[in-house]
């Protein structure tokens, strides 16, 4: 009841919705970078909350030691099972001894893989998410390596394995989350007013490209350098995923899932929660444009995304029950 990593990938970790309530002792929530794809991956295979594999390119090669129901969501990294193309955003059976590979990135950067019943993994402070700094949660608190064996929680899944399962997420639904892919909405940050007028304009006008110094902690951007009205010392204070900080050299960093809990750089903006999945799927070299929106609109976007997730969950679970009871 498990898989085996036969070729190691880059930062392939187990992640769930993250751990809440420990920021005050310096532990950020962590969790899947793309919360939308993570949840949908689980819902498709009949799960509620469970850990999923967050897969980057170069991706691991995975051998299945047992039959299992899986789903792949998020980035299109040209997944194949036994060299046959595997579809995204739908549940499918994988037979024992099959090999899952990812050939090349086509769209996005992170694929999420859920298995029915969830993965066997370590829970730390209420979450299965891998915290690499503390080395806790997920699989031994670290990214998966060659020869790692990760188990499934569910017992043998020996149902009509050859059948095509009819439910999936339409492109229309995912487009709403991921397109247009380079437009990132944000709201003004705590220190927005410290920016000079030109910099305020340039935040929206200029293109910013994602640099190679980007990981689960944050995305460093390069573009038109921004500046403050006057040099200002900020006393360290809380930051969050999505916080856009202005570095002393005029460049920006957007904090991501594994961010520090506090920081001392001016927080000029915040990427809205509803656009974090989209931003998570962008890779170094790609260019983004920021659009500044109001708080009301930001909240409405989040509520809409969460509503979509609730609808997807209900739909998937109904289908799942209908199919496996009949």
């Amino acid at each position: 009841m498990s898989i085996k990593i036969i070729k190691q990938g880059v930062m392939c970790t187990l992640q769930d919705a993250g751990r809440q309530g420990f920021r005050n002792i310096g532990i950020s929530p962590g969790g899947a970078m793309d919360i939308f794809a993570m949840h949908v991956s689980n819902f498709l295979v009949g799960n509620n909350e469970a850990a999923v594999l967050e897969i980057n390119f170069p991706a691991p090669e995975i051998l299945f030691l047992q039959n299992v129901l899986i789903s792949l969501t998020g980035a299109d990294l040209s997944a194949t099972v036994n060299n046959i193309t595997a579809s995204l955003w739908r549940p499918f059976f994988v037979k024992k001894d099959s090999v899952l590979k990812f050939k090349q990135p086509v769209f996005g950067s992170k694929t999420y893989m859920a298995v029915h019943g969830g993965w066997q993994s370590d829970k730390w402070l209420g979450s299965y998410s891998t915290h690499t700094k503390v080395m806790a949660g997920g699989h031994l608190g670290r990214p998966l390596q060659k020869d790692d064996v990760v188990g499934f929680k569910a017992k043998d899944f020996s149902l009509a394995e050859d059948k095509i399962l009819p439910w999936h997420i339409s492109k229309n639904e995912t487009d709403k989350i991921y397109l247009p892919s380079n437009t990132i909405r944000c709201i003004a940050g705590v220190e927005w007013e410290l920016l000079n007028e030109l910099s305020k304009e340039n935040l929206e006008k200029a293109d910013f490209s994602i640099t190679n110094q980007s990981d689960r902690m944050g995305y460093r951007l390069s573009g038109e350098p921004l500046s403050l009205l006057q040099p200002t010392e900020i006393i360290s204070s809380a930051v969050d995923a999505g916080t856009v900080q202005l570095l002393p050299d005029g460049n920006l960093i957007v904090l991501m899932a594994d961010h520090q809990t506090t920081g001392g750089y001016p927080r000029i903006a915040s990427v809205i929660k509803a656009d974090l999945p989209k931003l998570s799927q962008l890779s170094p070299g790609q260019t983004i444009n920021f659009i500044l929106i109001g708080l009301n609109e930001a909240e409405a976007a989040l509520i809409s995304m969460m509503q979509t997730l609730t609808e997807i969950k209900t739909g998937c679970h109904l289908n799942f029950e209908k199919y496996f009871q009949a």
Partner: protein, 221 residues
């Protein structure tokens, strides 16, 4: 949402931060997630979807949380709890790599440097930077020292350092720019514990100097 009590590092301001943190922890508010206290501010994290659900109106969730926060602040009044109670003692073996340099900069002996660092009771103003890293202060100005001009690529876990008017302990080995005075044998972040963090914001801390032998006897790393 961020409540700022001014752009200042002092005990009175930080006491207000901690008092509001307590008020939040004790108040019942649907959609409230967690707070992060810092030197002079408290960040309030909330679930906007839940807040809207339980407070159906055209107002943004932010406004609802703001109103609740303002009520709590009004109730704080002058009743800011002054935490003069217990003092946490942290043993330190003062063998840090920057002892000589720091002592030289202030034209004092190493013994005097240890005396001054162990003399005061420090307040934990906030925890951040990495899991369990406590920012404590304020240092006696006779030993306040700027960060190193180029950070070390590796500072060992348990290192006790100073930077400006702050002092702190590295819970994990990591890159770092603080001037290193010594090493504590205590594991100040232990993932196996229910409450993994040795400190919390608002704590009082006093360092005591221990010998190499005592350090080795107590070493938890």
């Amino acid at each position: 949402m961020l409540v700022s009590f001014g752009n200042i590092i002092d005990k009175t301001t930080n006491e207000k931060v901690i008092a509001l943190q307590r008020a939040f922890a004790e108040s019942f508010f649907r959609g409230f997630a967690e707070t992060v206290p810092a030197y002079s501010s408290l960040a309030i994290f909330y679930d906007a979807v839940a807040v809207k659900k339980y407070n159906p109106s055209v107002r943004p969730a932010f406004d609802v949380v703001k109103e609740h926060t303002e009520k709590l602040i009004a109730c704080l009044g002058d009743n800011v709890i002054q935490n003069e109670g217990t003092v946490i003692t942290v043993p330190v073996y003062y063998n840090g790599d920057d002892m000589d340099e720091v002592a030289k900069q202030h034209e004092i002996t190493i013994e005097k440097l240890v005396d001054i660092h162990t003399e005061k009771t420090y307040r934990v103003f906030m925890i951040g930077f990495q899991p369990g890293f406590a920012y404590m202060g304020k240092l006696d100005e006779r030993i306040a020292t700027p960060r190193k001009s180029s950070p070390r690529t590796q500072v060992p876990a348990g290192s006790v350092g100073i930077a400006g008017f702050q002092t702190g302990i590295y819970p994990f080995s990591s890159p770092g720019g603080w001037q290193l005075l010594g090493q504590t044998p205590l594991k100040i972040f232990d993932k196996e514990k229910m409450n993994p963090c040795f400190f919390k914001a608002g704590d009082n801390v006093k360092f005591i100097s221990i010998s190499k032998e005592e350090f080795e006897k107590q070493n938890e790393y």
